[in-house]
Amino acid sequence: MQIGIVGYGAYVPKFRIGVDEIARVWKADSKTIRSGLLVDEKSVPDKDEDTITISVEAGRNALLRAGINPQDVGAVYIGSESHPYAVKPSGTVVADALNMGPELMVADFEFACKAGTAAIQCCYALVKSGEIKYGMAIGADCAQSKPGDALEYTAAAGGAAYIIGKNPLATLEGTYSYTTDTSDFWRREGSGYPSHGARFTGKPAYFKHVISATNELLSKLSMKPSDFNHAVFHMPNGKFPLKAAKSLGFSKEQLKHGMVVTKIGNCYSGSSLLGLSRILDNAKPGEKILMTSYGSGAGSDSFSFVVTDKILERANLAKKTDFYIKRKETIDYGTYVRLRKKLKGG
């Protein structure tokens, strides 16, 4: 019996702030920054949006596509590094809002930017073992970044939800995780913004884990990069996934649909999952998709999917990723500071 994605849904808040606008405020050279990051603008959540509201909207879209009874969902796992509460699960609110439960397994996941893909692996295992019929895995974030920090150009908001079960629109063929203790990025309890190791986030962190996980998955499945029609790698910026793809032997063409970072920035736990949702929006039956996430700290989860003919009937049942990417209102830095409550006393 095939197990995989039976429904998926995306959500990205409508506000955008340009790299140029952030650079203007910090008197930085926006041209070099843009060409260094390959990011034009990033999404910003409204005053009343957070990881929970993003998860609910993405979850609703996933349920619309899956066409299942929410009561048949046996697990909800939300991966995020910006859960609104330090203590109190995001998943309980999301489950109630989506009419799921109370016969339901819920826990919030955190693994920097890869907690959402970790949630997919858990749902997959529970479905495969027969413990649950469907599991919902969500990766969503309203990423924090210190004003003036390099992260500010990319830390964005958005998320995607995946319902894992039988009769999928994309079958999960295999997954592989590569995990080590590598401290490239972290946030201490009670601290408002994360810290990072600058260039240390590159070679020993992102590249080592993304490349290792992908290579190990390919060898486990006896596949090669050219077997895939589409690929998406975690997108902390536009440059890293391009470089990783190149060294792994993937072409720019394979990355085309999944490269959402240029227009919405890095949605952290939602990053690779939004790339995947955009690929699915454009995929045809029989196509193969590779997805490799990356979470600082550090680890990568690599997945191989085969699109089934169910995609034809389900892709149009909810708003596509591009609806959210194209729906936008550009804001200035002052508005951004207000929306993100970065003003002291504001």
């Binding site: 409508k14 009343d48 929970i52 609703r60 109630d96 809002a97 504001g346």
Partner: protein, 133 residues
């Protein structure tokens, strides 16, 4: 500040998250917010739960610029009385470009933060509305 109470908002989460209303099967009247007694049939009525679609149109609206305590962060924001397709009305915030709001425009629900009990208190979630493009 909306009345601070954990049980109060917990009790209301079903209608607040999902627009679950009620209907009197005797007179067919639909109620939202839900009522446990039909005001038309009173004790002879028969109140049943009814799931509302959340789709409707704006009957009238205002833009709040001087907010009550607890809503300072959100101004200006639009509040409208919305006629739901099932035939009952609800008061709700309309998000998005407030300049585009007009009487008669159609709306659909979106899940948002309603308000917070300060920085240490609970965050209350519920449905707001957005214009249907």
């Amino acid at each position: 500040m909306p009345y601070k109470s954990v049980p109060l908002f917990w009790r209301l989460k079903k209608p607040k998250y999902n627009l679950t209303g009620t209907k009197c099967t005797k007179c067919e009247n639909v109620y939202f917010p839900p009522r446990n007694l039909c005001p038309a049939c009173r004790r002879s009525g028969d109140i049943q739960e009814l799931q509302l679609s959340g789709k409707g149109k704006i009957l009238s609206y205002t833009i709040i610029r001087t907010p009550p305590e607890g809503f300072e962060h959100y101004v200006p924001y639009a509040v409208a009385i919305i006629r739901l397709d099932e035939g009952t009305n609800i008061t709700g915030q309309v998000v998005g470009d407030i300049e585009k709001i007009r009487t008669g425009k159609r709306v659909r629900p979106v899940f948002r933060k309603m308000h917070e009990d300060g920085n240490d208190g609970l965050i209350h979630y519920g449905l707001k509305f957005e214009l249907v493009d």
